[in-house]
Every structure is written in C-alpha cells, then in structure tokens.
C-alpha cells in the first residue's frame, strides 16, 4: 500500500504539471507519513543527498560549460570544424556534427551546444540553401553527443544515482566511442540526405587555414583535457579536475581569448546557478524517493516482472530500452537518471551487464528523449533557435532518430563499444 501511495502521488502530481523534483518530495513525504515515519526524514535526506562530495563536480562542469558558451569558444570550434570537414558533401551539416562533437566534449551540455552552435550555424545553413528543418534536425540530434562524450555532468549524476561503486573515470572513457559513433551515424544520415537534396560542399581552405584554426581552438580543448585527463590520470579527483577546468576556462576566455565580458560572466554565473540548482533539487528529493523505492524492493519486483515476460537478456534489455525511450519522451534526463538507475541497474547487473555499459546505454537512450516530442528540451530549443515549428522539424527528423537508434543498439548489445577503451586505458 505504501508503494502504491508513493507511485500514485508521484504520478498524479507529475501528470498535472507539478515540477518533478517537488512531485518526488511530496510523494516521499506522503509515503513516510503513511508508514508512520516522521516526514522530517524527507528533508533530512534531501539535505544529505545534496551534501555529497562527488556532486560538487556538477557546478564546476556546468560553470565551465557556461563560460565556454558565453566566452566565444563556439565560433572557434566551428571555424576549425569548417576547415576540416566543410569540403565534404553537405559540408555545413558535417561542420555542425563535428562541432557538436568538439563542443559537447568541452561543455557536456546538449542545450548549451544548441544555443551556441545552432545560433551560429543554422542561419548560415539556411543562407546556403539548406532546408531549415534539416539544419535544425542536424543541430538538435548532434547536440546529444555532448551528454556521452566526457566530461559530462550527467555521468556524475548516474554515478551518484548508482549508489557509488562506479568509477567516473571509467564512465568518461566509456563514453568516448559511443559519442563518436553517434556522430558518425548522424553524419552518414546527413550525408545521404545531402546527396538527395543536392546540398553543396564548401571549398577546402587549405592546410594553412586548418593549422591556424586548430591553433586558435586548441586552448579551448585543454579545458576538457584538464577535466578528463586530470581524473583519468588519478592526479586530481573528479571534483578537483572540475574546479581546475572551470578556473582555466575563466582565465582562458578572459585573458587569452579576451572574449568574456563582465555581462557574459554574470550570465555564466547566474546560468550555472540556475542549472545547478535545478539538477541539485532533483537529486535532493530523488534521494528520499530512491530510499523508499529500495525500501519497497521495487527493483526486485520489477526484475521479477520483466523475467516473467522473458528470461532472454536481449529481450529484457530491449524492454528496458523501450521503457526508457517512452519515459524519455515525457520526462527530462536528470530526473529519469535519478529515478530509473536504482530500478534498472540491479536488473542489468543481474543479466551480467557491466554497470558502466548500462550507464552509457541509459545516457544515449535518454539523450534521444531530449530530441523527441512531446517533451524534448533540445528539440524545443533547436526549433526556437532555427525559428521553425516543431511539426516542421518532426517531418524530416526520422533519419536522424534512426541513426541514434542504431548507435543505441550497438551500445546496448556490443559491450566493447563502451568497454573497450576503459579496458585498454584504465
């Protein structure tokens, strides 16, 4: 009965539009009250859920991403990508995807990616004769590479939701190939569509220009090198790497690129506060919510249910992916990582799946959810930046969905896609 109250209260409040974090908090408080526990536990757990050392990396990653967004790094990356891949068929689409891979690797945020790259590339693509829906779809779907390519604050959220025991550095390494794979699949789809629609290739600017663009963009990359390299080498903890990376980004954009104004700095700080608090309040109340899910043995019950449908790991993983895809269509990523990890991770472990592989699978899957209606943050931001209607974008987005689904299938069923790099370098 307690579980029913927990889930019904949560479901009801989410359906009527209550913010997910507070729906979790209210549901947890109600269930604690029903079970005769003091409601105080909800808030005690919320406070202790936020006061976790490894979570301190989140504001640092988010701040570094905001500084990169407002500090003019995106234009340099686009210039480099244009020099490298602009001469291919559908050149600007390739530039868009390649830039996302580079920028996502630095900022770790899909929305920052769309805001920064979309506002630069979508107008140029339209001007060069690309269909607006194509330009938006390339921007939106490629942005989710940043969620998987390290550093990514969503990986920290996953590691925390998994209850510890999962190495963030292993997650960082595990995300590299899936992120590049996603970009490759998207590039294939974009290339095929470019041939169909006869989109142009840009002239190759020459190796001198490639060298100059690289020299200009490389200092920006060092942010990612500091965060990822510092963590992987074991020299810094992930939190220390994040702090160092954030300060480096600040110094770089202020004193080297000289593109960070006071207003841009204020925007970066307040943007980071808003994003961090939005994620942290989710983590706070998810901490109480997940405690009750464990108390009611939800993972074990759901595992029994899934096994009763099929004991074939391929089918069970397919079902988990379908559930995540459906949930991803209506809920945002951070909330779903926090809610679904304690439920599905034990099931995946029971099937013999590596928790790191599961984490990457979940991030790719929920990343796709950010691009799907009815609730798709990236899709909405992309359409707003590209000034087109969502229906218009949806008409031609299917090849890109299929490309990501193909990558998701490989990540799910081929462990080496995510685990090979950690096994070689760890």
């Amino acid at each position: 009965m307690g579980l029913t109250i927990l889930l019904l209260t949560f479901g009801l409040f989410v359906v009527v539009g209550m913010p997910v974090a507070f729906a979790m908090g209210i549901a947890a408080a109600t269930a604690f009250w029903y079970e005769g526990f003091p409601m105080l536990i909800t808030f005690q757990r919320a406070t202790s859920g936020v006061s976790v050392f490894s979570l301190l990396a989140i504001p640092f990653f988010v701040f570094a991403g905001e500084v990169m967004l407002h500090g003019g790094i995106a234009a340099r990356l686009v210039k480099l990508a244009a020099a490298l891949v602009g001469h291919l068929k559908g050149g600007l689409a390739m530039v868009n995807i390649f830039s996302s891979m580079l920028f996502g690797g630095i900022s770790g945020s899909a929305v920052a990616d769309i805001s920064a790259l979309g506002s630069l590339l979508i107008p140029v693509m339209k001007e060069r004769g690309y269909r607006p829906d194509f330009a938006v779809n390339v921007t939106v779907t490629s942005s989710i590479a940043g969620i998987v390519i390290p550093p990514s604050h969503n990986m920290i959220i996953f590691a925390v939701a998994a209850g510890g025991g999962i190495s963030v550095s292993k997650l960082f390494l595990a995300g590299v190939i899936p992120g590049m794979l996603m970009c490759f699949c998207l590039a294939v789809a974009a290339y095929a569509l470019s041939i169909k629609h006869k989109y142009p290739a840009e002239p190759f600017p020459g190796w001198g220009e490639v060298g100059r663009s690289a020299a200009d963009a490389i200092p920006g990359f060092i942010t990612a090198v500091i965060i990822v390299g510092g963590t992987l080498s074991g020299v810094f903890t992930v939190t220390e790497s994040g702090a160092f990376g954030a300060i480096y980004a600040l110094v770089l954009t202020k004193f080297y690129y000289r593109s960070l104004t006071w207003d841009a700095f204020v925007l970066a700080v307040t943007g980071a506060v808003r994003t961090t608090s939005m994620v942290m309040i989710l983590i706070a109340f998810a901490s109480s919510f997940a405690y009750l899910l464990a108390l009611y043995q939800v993972p074990a019950k759901l595992s029994d249910l899934l096994v009763s449908v099929s004991d074939n790991p391929i089918i069970i993983l397919l079902m988990i992916n379908l559930i995540l895809l459906v949930l991803g269509m209506i809920m945002d990523m951070a909330a779903l990582i926090l809610i679904c990890t304690p439920i599905f991770l034990p099931i995946a472990k029971g099937l013999g799946m590596d928790p790191t592989q599961f984490g990457i699978m979940m991030l790719v899957n929920l990343g796709l959810g950010l691009c799907t209606p009815p609730v798709g943050t990236c899709l909405f931001v992309g359409c707003a930046v590209g000034k087109i209607k969502i229906e218009e974008a949806l008409k031609s987005i299917w090849p890109f969905y299929l490309a990501i689904l193909f990558a998701l299938i490989l990540v799910t069923y081929v462990p080496a896609v995510s685990l090979w790099l950690p096994s070689v370098l760890d």
Binding site: R274, T276, M280
Partner: protein, 176 residues
C-alpha cells in the same frame, strides 16, 4: 480598484526583489565555491598544504546554491515538469490545476519550513567539522527554501484565484 492594482504591483516588485536576492546569494556562493576550491587545488598540489576547511565549506555552499536557486526557480517557473497532459485540458481546468499546484507546492514549502526549523533546532549543538559552526547553518538552506517556496508559490496561487478571469494559461504565469 486602482489602489488595489498598485498594491499588487508593489507586492510583485518586492517579491521579485526577493527572487533576485536568492539568485544573487546563490551566485556569490558559486563564485566563492569555485575560488576556494581553486585555492584547495593550488594548496594541495603546489604548496603541499591542503586547506582542509575548503571541502566542508564547499559542502555547505552547495546547499545554498541548490536550495536558494531552487526557490528562485519556483518563482521563475524554470523547474523541470511535464505540462503536456495539463495543456490538453480546457482553459478553466488548466487554471484550476495550476492554482492547485501553486497551493500544494506552497503547503509543501510550509512543511519544509517547519521541518527545517526542527532540523535546525536538532543541529544547533553539533558543529560542522573544520568550520566550527553549528550544523544548523547547513539546514538553514532548506529552511529558507521552504519559506521562500511558501511565499512565491502561495502568493502566486492567491493572486491567481483573486484574478481568475484576468489571466491566460498560455502565458503560464502571472508575472508574480
């Protein structure tokens, strides 16, 4: 009627100043967090003298960033939520649901405030390690968050009731 509108406008301005203050304090906390953590990294790896208080201060500051930012997020309507089912309802049903959410959230803020005060009372005798200040300073963040949510959400709910026919759900908020 005009007098009432001007009172509401004054109230809106005051409440917006409180929201701005939340973002300002949380922003200062973030800048201090980044600066002190930078100092920690420098101290640990360059000076070979780790400032051990930094980690405890960081765990305190993150509470203020999280909870004050979250309270401001209630006022700004920036929290992640699912509105598609509600948006499919007729306008008046949507309005009633939005008012209900405001009031329930305000009540939850009230419970959070009450629980926070109780937690602060419990924690007054316990000191935070390295900082030597009462544990209550950590729970003050969630207590403030509760009070602010009660203020932001409760006031919005009441104003929405008072001006039920004057606002539209497509705007999502009443600018308060």
């Amino acid at each position: 009627m005009v007098g009432q509108s001007s009172k509401i406008a004054t109230l809106e301005t005051a409440v917006d100043m409180v929201r701005a203050a939340c973002i300002f304090i949380a922003s200062i906390a973030l800048v201090v967090l980044i600066s002190t953590f930078g100092w920690l990294v420098f101290g640990r790896y360059v000076l070979n003298a780790t400032p051990t208080w930094v980690e405890q201060l960081a765990l305190l500051l993150i509470c203020y960033i999280a909870f004050l930012g979250a309270a401001a997020g209630v006022k700004e309507n920036t929290h992640l939520g699912v509105s598609l089912f509600r948006d499919a309802m007729p306008e008046n049903v949507q309005k009633i649901l939005m008012i209900a959410i405001d009031l329930i959230l305000a009540a939850f803020g009230g419970v959070m405030l009450f629980a926070g005060v109780t937690l602060m009372q419990f924690g007054w005798g316990t000191l935070l390690p390295m900082l030597d200040i009462p544990e209550s300073f950590r729970t003050l963040a969630i207590t403030s968050c509760g009070g602010l949510i009660l203020l932001f959400s409760g006031l919005r709910g009441v104003l929405r009731i008072l001006s039920f026919s004057d606002w539209h759900t497509v705007h999502k908020d009443l600018d308060i």
